[in-house]
């Protein structure tokens, strides 16, 4: 069985996000970029499944310009067998990404597609679901536990009421949550090995996919700044201040 893992290049979770002053987007100048942390968990899970002997090959896929090869190489260094870059400089929305992924799915015929439940930049949480619909295969989202047996995957999901356990037939799309696993550190010699692993570049045009953005972002704005608080002497003053502001 092949496992396909989608990984996205995003602004690192430690970086303080700044909106560009003209509101056209996020400032990424000189900013550290990483694999979306949820996707890293998806890759770790794929590697563990392969190491348990339940899969033969793990393929990492990403969409974007050449800069996303850096994240693909990291994926290869973690242990993926090969990588595919769908080359495009278009502005990407989930449906476009799902369509492009579907082309790769058709070509590679994976038994399982794993990806993060969402990317920490757009927080859309749509690509996995859309891919499952296009592919007409089952989906299991927000997995915090995953086990495979024969042609079924048992997935534990974190839902509002607690944990929900479902079974899906393979092939399927599984999107993963934070508590599924803790990704491994990359071993230094594996970085060298990753340089020699195959990384195929396919242009998105050649896949017959064009970026159709049905959603238009008009502008970005940071959340309003919190006003400075005041120190009150006692409860009476607190009540008075709250009354003044019409809050009680």
């Amino acid at each position: 069985m092949k496992i396909l893992v989608g990984i996205k290049r995003v602004v690192d979770y430690n970086v303080r996000i700044r909106v560009r002053s003209d509101g056209s987007g996020i400032d990424t100048d000189g900013v550290k970029m990483s694999i979306n942390p949820f996707d890293e968990i998806a890759l770790e899970e794929a590697l563990r499944i392969r190491e348990a002997g339940l899969a033969e090959e793990v393929i990492v896929v990403s969409l974007g310009g050449n800069e996303c090869q850096q994240q693909l190489r990291t994926g290869l260094a973690m242990g993926a067998d090969r990588a595919i870059q769908i080359d495009t400089d278009a502005d990407l929305q989930p449906l476009t990404i799902a369509r492009a992924f579907f082309k790769i799915v058709e070509k590679e015929q994976p038994g399982l597609v794993l990806m993060g439940k969402q990317a920490i930049d757009g927080d859309n949480s749509q690509t996995g679901q859309m891919l499952a619909a296009l592919w007409d295969r089952p989906q299991a989202t927000f997995a915090s536990g995953l086990s495979l047996s024969g042609n079924t995957a048992t997935v534990v999901r974190e839902v509002d009421a607690g944990l929900e356990t479902i079974e899906v037939d393979l092939p399927a799309v599984v999107s993963v949550d934070l508590r599924l696993n803790e990704p491994r550190f990359v071993k230094l010699p594996d970085i060298m090995k990753a340089k020699r692993k195959p990384l195929d570049v396919i242009s998105m045009d050649d896949l017959g996919v064009t970026a159709e953005n049905d959603l238009k972002v008009s502008h970005y704005a940071p959340p309003p700044k919190r006003e400075k608080g005041i120190m009150v002497e006692d409860a009476a003053q607190l009540v008075a201040e709250l009354r003044n502001r019409g809050l009680v």
Binding site: N14, R16, R18, G30, E182, P183, R184, L188
Partner: protein, 544 residues
């Protein structure tokens, strides 16, 4: 170095360079230019190249011209030609312009982000075949049986706070190489070990350091004058303390502002961070930042000792270059060109003889050292205060350092005055309104990140001294000199029968650390030992 039960994995190179700063990268690039077949690796503790680099920075381009002759065709992302220099003497309320000393004339120089410059150099090194490994910290030295340096040991990852392996545990590998080049920058923790082990500083003065704190601001439109370089001396420092400020006007309304202060200050109550923030509130400075916002910030120590403090820069199997050796030219307030040139010099030395031997002599006979020799008396001249320092600086500048005298440096840790001997200090600090509010707010702009569940990388060798002697003699200066609020004295209330007792203990907020090394240098008992945390930890500086 920890004892290991299993054999570590080993990688072999011809040359291993520790630290991907300007010195290390220049050395790597020049090695491959001279000998393309040489196997060269650079390891770097920051998660990305440039993320632990913090510098002014105005650089002299001659060294880059030599290393990468075509660099001006595709310059680093931040590279603004200097248009004008200004130097001023500040009092609490006034500013007086001074004539620009010749060392600080910056015509032909460039304002850069040194972090961005390194991130720009790294791919050029990789294109030549250098293997660069960011996110891997050299935690120990690998010694050969004959005692020579034989490479480095990468730190283990996935170790918990008590030192036990976690699920993600990964043993660090050893990198073996006939030659190790230490390019860790100021007060590198392995360089420190090597200097002690091989007694490299036996014939030199104690090293002298400063701390530099820097912020990058986006100022309100119209306030930034690209290419303007402003320096100041005087307020908020008293005349006994050596230091000053810089304001570099870059492009896109970005302004770098920073404050440097020598670590041989004597007042244990002094806080370099507060001095920097006070400087920003000087009436001549504050308007520039009003209505702006901080993009990033951080701190790093600077090596100031110059020629007389330069240790021997070779030992069996290893070399020291750049600020790990101590080649910064303080009166110019520049070290990058010296770092790059020393990296290149080390590369040609290695390419010629494949040995460390003779590098010390080569370096001392080079223009790098001549430059330091000329200005050797300027920094120690300030040991006697600002006014006498300025006079010494003027004399030494006019005579180009040819007077047959060498003033000496003293150790920074020994310069604090005990509280009981302190005269009361008057600090007319103003109430601040510009960001950041305090040191914790400031750390946020360094985007520093350490997994909380790892060994504390600030080792206190004698914790009792903190509570007993230090509290009494100096009042815990670590809680003030650290720019990131790593050190905190915490009172534990214990209620026992017959009353309650309050015990103090030192809390180390290691996750805040920005890797500046001030504590390792300034702690008066020399009981704080900075070691490298898990690779990839630490600040994530952007364009500093």
């Amino acid at each position: 170095m920890s004892e290991t039960a299993t054999e570590r994995e080993i990688m072999e190179y011809d040359v291993i360079i520790v630290g991907a700063g300007p010195a290390g990268l220049a050395c790597a690039i020049r090695l491959k230019q001279l000998k393309p077949d040489l196997m060269v690796a650079v390891i770097e503790k920051s998660a990305e190249i440039g993320a632990h680099i913090l510098s002014g920075a105005v650089i002299e381009p001659a060294a880059l011209d030599e290393l990468l002759p075509a660099w001006r065709e595709s310059p680093p992302p931040i590279c603004i030609p200097v248009e004008r220099d200004e130097i001023a003497l500040l009092t609490a309320t006034s500013k007086r312009k001074l004539p620009t000393p010749p060392q600080q004339k910056n015509h032909g120089n460039f304002i850069v982000s040194l972090g961005a410059l390194c991130a720009w150099m790294a791919p050029q090194a990789e294109a030549l075949g250098v293997d660069i490994f960011p996110g891997y910290a050299a935690a120990g030295v690998h010694y050969l049986q004959n005692g020579a340096v034989g490479g480095v040991i990468i730190g283990d990852m996935g170790v918990d706070r008590q030192g036990n392996p976690k699920d993600t545990y990964m043993q660090g590998i050893e990198i073996h190489a006939p030659l190790t080049v230490m390019a860790e920058g100021c007060r590198g923790h392995l360089s420190k070990q090597l200097i002690t082990k091989f007694k490299l500083d036996a014939d030199s003065d104690p090293q002298a350091y400063g701390i530099g704190i820097k912020e990058l601001w986006q100022v309100a439109p119209g306030k930034c004058k690209p290419g303007l370089v402003q320096h100041s001396i005087g307020w908020p420092l008293d005349t006994k303390t050596y230091g000053g400020s810089f304001i570099y006007h870059m492009d896109k309304d970005r302004v770098a502002v920073g404050f440097v202060c020598a670590l041989d200050y004597s007042d244990p109550e002094f806080s370099p961070f507060e001095a920097f923030q006070q400087f920003k509130h000087h009436p001549s400075v504050k308007p520039l930042f009003e209505g702006g916002e901080i993009l990033s910030g951080g701190a790093r120590t600077i090596i100031e000792g110059g020629a007389q403090s330069l240790p021997k820069v070779e030992m069996p199997g290893a070399l020291l270059i750049g600020d790990a050796a101590g080649l910064l030219n303080l009166p110019k307030i520049k070290g990058t060109h010296q770092a790059i040139r020393s990296g290149m010099l080390a590369a040609s030395h290695i390419a010629e003889g494949s040995t460390a031997e003779g590098f010390d002599e080569t370096l001392r006979a080079s223009p790098i050292m001549k430059e330091l020799h000329k200005v050797r008396n300027i920094r120690p001249g300030f040991n006697k205060g600002l006014w006498r320092g300025l006079i010494t600086a003027a004399i030494e500048t006019v005579t180009v350092g040819k007077l047959p005298r060498t003033l000496h440096n003293h150790a920074d840790y020994s310069s604090l005055t005990k509280l009981q001997d302190m005269e009361p200090v008057d600090r007319p600090w103003v109430k601040r309104s510009l960001a950041p509010r305090d040191r914790l707010a400031s750390v946020y702009f360094a985007a520093t990140d350490h997994d909380e569940d790892q060994l504390v990388h600030l080792q206190i060798l004698e914790p009792d001294v903190c509570i007993t002697r230090c509290g009494e003699e100096y009042g815990h200066p670590c809680t003030r000199f650290c720019p990131a609020n790593v050190y905190e004295m915490v009172t534990d209330q214990m209620t026992e029968e017959g009353g309650s007792t309050a015990n103090q203990h030192l809390q180390i907020n290691a996750a805040n650390c920005v890797h500046c090394k001030t504590c390792d240098i300034k702690d008066p008992y020399q009981i704080i030992n900075w070691v490298t945390p898990e690779g990839g930890s630490g600040p994530n500086y952007q364009n500093l």
